[in-house]
């Protein structure tokens, strides 16, 4: 018989090593679907690396892709730390994007110094509202936030489609369901000339830094962690659990809303119903790979973005479906879960007493 025993304390090596190893294992496992698709496996990996590190432009594309993932990864990491299961980042992203075009596409005509902060703040507020509602349903009525946030994703996406055929539709859009473009002065400036990487990345990195500091050093971060580790004990210690959860919900939803703002006002310029290829859901994988640490989210987002951009480029060159990227992303989530188990527990052959 094999028994499971907890380790005394997970070592630093394990907490850092497990996610890295999981990501590498998931990447290596991609050889199976590549071979299944009949591709030259070595050449495919070569194309993937080339697609990310082959040129400055390729690398800047990876950073562009990582930007929304840092936001949604932070949204998931902070919420999950408090055991608040925000699976609704996808919908909150669209709420933020909708707010951005509602204000930025001509409704408010102000100089950039006013318009950009307005778009950012109201976009975050829209995302925050999107998570505040299911959190209130949880704390007031006991409705499981996993299910309500998942279902709200669908409601919000249909609402976006409705708005794009109604109030937000671009009158000059030749009938396409898309919003009017955000005014030039409302756009987040790009970082490098002739590349798409934009200052949304800077905002994302600042957000990660602030989140890391707040989580580790502030009273709010302490309350958040206490609620996540043991809500009953936290309540006993005088922490207002519901109020803490609500504040976490607002921050988490706000970050997801910023992902939408950054995609619309930093990259696309206008809103369509296919703005996000699942950034909200991928953010959960990013957060788990990061061990729910905000600083780790940045690194994990860079890795996941590399997988997507690399697989896209490989797909164009060799013709293997780019769904390979989604496959690697989902496998890295399963690997990091299993790895997390072995970081916390060891298998002991029973019969012998552990010293």
């Amino acid at each position: 018989m094999i028994r499971i025993e907890p380790r005394n304390a997970p070592t630093r090596l394990l907490t850092l090593g497990v996610p890295v190893l999981s990501a590498l294992v998931a990447l290596a496992l991609a050889a199976v679907p590549l071979a299944f698709a009949g591709a030259d496996v070595a050449a495919a990996y070569g194309e993937m690396v080339n697609g990310v590190f082959g040129s400055v432009f390729a690398f800047s594309e990876m950073l562009t892709r990582a930007t929304p993932l840092i936001f949604t990864g932070l949204a998931a990491a902070l919420a999950f730390r408090a055991r608040l299961w925000n699976i609704g980042a996808e919908g909150q992203l669209y709420l933020g994007a909708m707010a951005a075009v509602a204000i930025g596409a001509g409704a408010v005509d102000a100089p950039g110094i006013v318009l950009v902060p307005l778009i950012v703040v109201l976009g975050a507020a829209a995302g925050a509202a999107g998570m505040a509602v299911p959190t209130l349903l949880k704390t007031r009525f006991g409705a499981d936030e996993v299910v309500t946030t998942l279902l709200l994703n669908f409601v919000i996406l249909i609402f976006v489609q409705m708005m794009l055929e109604g109030a937000l539709k671009d009158p000059m859009g030749l009938g396409w369901p898309q919003s009017a473009p955000i005014l030039d002065q409302g756009m987040l400036p790009t970082l490098i000339e002739r590349m798409r990487v934009h200052s949304g990345l800077v905002i994302a990195l600042i957000a990660a830094g602030v989140a890391q500091f707040m989580l580790a050093r502030s009273v709010w971060g302490f309350r958040l962690r206490a609620v996540g580790e043991n809500a009953a004990a936290a309540r006993h210690a005088g922490i207002r659990v519901n109020r803490t959860l609500f504040s976490v919900a607002v921050v988490s939803g706000g970050l997801a809303g910023l992902a939408g703002v950054s995609e619309v006002a930093g990259l696309k310029g206008y809103l369509t119903a296919d703005l996000s290829p699942g950034f909200g859901y991928t953010g959960i994988v990013v957060a788990m790979l990061a061990g729910l640490s905000p600083a780790g989210v940045v690194i994990a987002a860079l890795f996941i973005a590399s997988v997507f951009v690399g697989a896209d480029s490989m797909s164009r060159a060799i013709g293997v479906s780019s769904y390979l990227a989604d496959l690697v992303v989902s496998m890295s989530l399963l690997c990091v879960l299993i790895g997390g188990f072995f970081a916390r527990f060891k298998l002991v052959r029973s019969g012998r007493v552990a010293a």
């Binding site: 299944f36 698709a37 996993v146 479906s321 496959l327």
Partner: protein
């Protein structure tokens, strides 16, 4: 108002309601079975996709319709096994593992479909299940069109409701599954395997979920489309809570849901000019949220739901 009454009295309305409810019946039964054993299975959405793709592809490759059903169930059980290993012996977060299985099952299905059919403009079709034509029964007034002119999979779903109810409430196995979801220590004390019961329940439940997906590609439609599951799995998770983990109430919930959906399609043609069509598309999800909020307070959760159990640790 007369129109609504007329709709509610028509055979075609109730036939449509049952047809729309069928994948949900499979899904709710599957989710219920997993949760009764103490394991929440958020892999459901991806398992629907896997069942839809695997069943369709098996038929497309020549396995026959019932062969396709078996392949779909097998695919469901396979992804269920992954979730079960992660959450039962390893005791990992059921939420995160389930979402991981949904992402994995979905991407595996999409990747295989795209690899098998790289450049198709319109998805290839199969010959799906046909409506039954049973002598006498299918010609009954009202019941005939509503019940016995459905496809075989719809009848299978209804039979499974009775079977799952009987199994859970009248057999030793069912009592053990319920006990392992309420108090695993007591099951262990009787010398039964907590791990075995939970893994088995999750695999069987996942196979049922996959049949819900298979119904979509093999009965409701005749091809596989990306995004065709469209949240049906999540709706099932809400319906299980609404049904307080009872198969009979789960059937009722799925039927109410199907009836509402069938009604909105019919109303849409009447008041479509007044309200944007998207309002109707949103309705099922909003309805699920409302059902959840109403049911949540008095929900009688299996007591060990979400709680991992390790052998030899009290």
């Amino acid at each position: 108002m007369m129109d609504v009454l007329q709709i509610l009295l028509s055979e075609s309305f109730w036939a449509a309601s049952l047809r729309i409810a069928t994948p949900l019946i499979f899904g709710v039964l599957g989710a219920l079975l997993c949760e009764k054993s103490g394991v929440l299975n958020l892999g459901i959405e991806g398992i629907f996709v896997a069942g839809a793709m695997a069943g369709w592809m098996a038929v497309w490759l020549g396995a026959g319709l019932w062969g396709g059903v078996l392949v779909a169930a097998g695919a469901g059980a396979f992804f269920g096994l992954i979730h079960a290993i992660l959450t039962v012996p390893l005791g990992l977060s059921q939420h995160v593992s389930g979402l991981g299985v949904t992402l994995f099952a979905t991407s595996v299905s999409y990747f295989i479909y795209r690899t098998a059919l790289p450049n198709v403009t319109s998805p290839p079709r199969i010959e799906p299940f046909r409506p039954l034509d049973i002598p006498v029964l299918s010609d009954l007034p009202f019941l005939g069109p509503v019940l016995f002119q459905q496809t075989a999979l719809t009848l299978l779903a209804l039979i499974l409701v009775a079977l799952v109810w009987y199994m859970l409430n009248r057999t030793a196995l069912g009592v053990a599954i319920q006990a392992v979801g309420d108090n695993p220590d007591s099951v262990d004390a009787q010398g039964l395997s907590v791990y075995g019961l939970r893994i088995g329940a999750v695999m069987a439940g996942s196979a049922l979920m996959a049949l819900g997906g298979a119904f979509l590609t093999m009965s409701a439609f005749d091809a596989f489309f990306f995004g065709m599951v469209n949240g049906r799995g999540w709706i099932c998770i809400a319906l299980v809570i609404f049904a307080s983990w009872r198969p009979g109430k789960a059937l009722l919930g799925a039927l109410l849901f199907g009836a509402f959906d069938a009604l909105q399609v019919r109303l849409q043609t009447e008041v479509g000019a007044l309200v944007p069509g998207q309002v109707f598309l949103m309705a099922p999800y909003i309805l699920s949220i409302i059902a959840l909020v109403i049911a949540a307070r008095k929900a009688d959760y299996p007591r060990a739901l979400l709680t991992p159990w390790f052998k030899g640790q009290r």
